[in-house]
């Protein structure tokens, strides 16, 4: 069977659900961020695959990928700032430590 759209869709679905598994099992903020990066990458892979195999003479999927990458970079930077501030306050980056808004 020739490698085409189906193969890449299967690949990106697998990558996405690996990210979901990591997001659900981890408690550490940094490793949850890493799982989110995996999920974003699987979405990018889908955009490029559909662009290449369904509309080869258009560029829409490529631009979506470029903008997702830019927004992911901004997101990672903001997340790092928040993680450092959380660490300063609670001396830990686990998600179940910061509970001050409950009280």
């Amino acid at each position: 069977m020739q490698i085409g759209l189906t193969h890449i869709l299967v690949l990106s679905a697998t990558l996405f659900f690996i990210g979901v598994y990591g997001f659900l099992t981890r408690k550490n903020l940094i490793s949850m961020l890493m799982s989110i990066e995996l999920m974003l990458n699987s979405a990018n892979l889908n955009f490029i695959a559909f662009n290449k195999y369904v509309w080869p003479n258009k560029l829409e999927g490529l631009f979506f990928t470029l903008f997702i990458i830019a927004i992911a970079a901004a997101e990672a930077a903001v997340a790092m700032a928040i993680i450092i501030q959380v660490y300063r306050q609670f001396k830990s980056v686990d998600v179940d430590e910061p509970t001050i808004m409950k009280e």
């Binding site: 193969h7 690949l11 195999y53 903008f67």
Partner: protein, 180 residues
Amino acid sequence: MGIEFSDIIFYLLAFMMIGFAVLSVTTRQLFRAAIYLLFSLVSVAGIYFWMEANFVAAVQIIVYVGGIVVVIIFSILLTQQAGAEMPKPSLSKKLWSFLAAGSGLGILLLQILKLQLGTVNAKGALFDVKAIGRELIDIDTHGWALPFEVVSMLLLASMIGCIVIALKPGAIIKHEMKES
């Protein structure tokens, strides 16, 4: 029909990507998880190269591998003890997460395999960097000039926001008092 060379490359990249992603979400040392994530992202860039989307592959390596993974490694170095292991997630949590992710993956794969998508083998515009640049700053109906500018504003805003969030509490006030 024999196996072609490019198929072998594809399967190699795919196994690298999935394998390193699995290692990245299951290892208990955070620093190693970041390095595995780096290899997984490099393999994704390899698949972009395989799909002849050279520009996106270059952007993936520059931004993800050179930017985001470095940011993640910095935040690990700033917040973790070196070599410390994360606590194991409880078995029930692992099981339920596996069930959730596995059932979602199963449904999605069933749908994908049912679709019977055909393959188009046309030379695309994906590798034409000149066309990408033209369309990116085009202000006509199919151009992307407005999102381009909006993303630049977003990056500026997030940069300033990061500096403000990561400042020590009271740092600005102290600085102003020193000035006056």
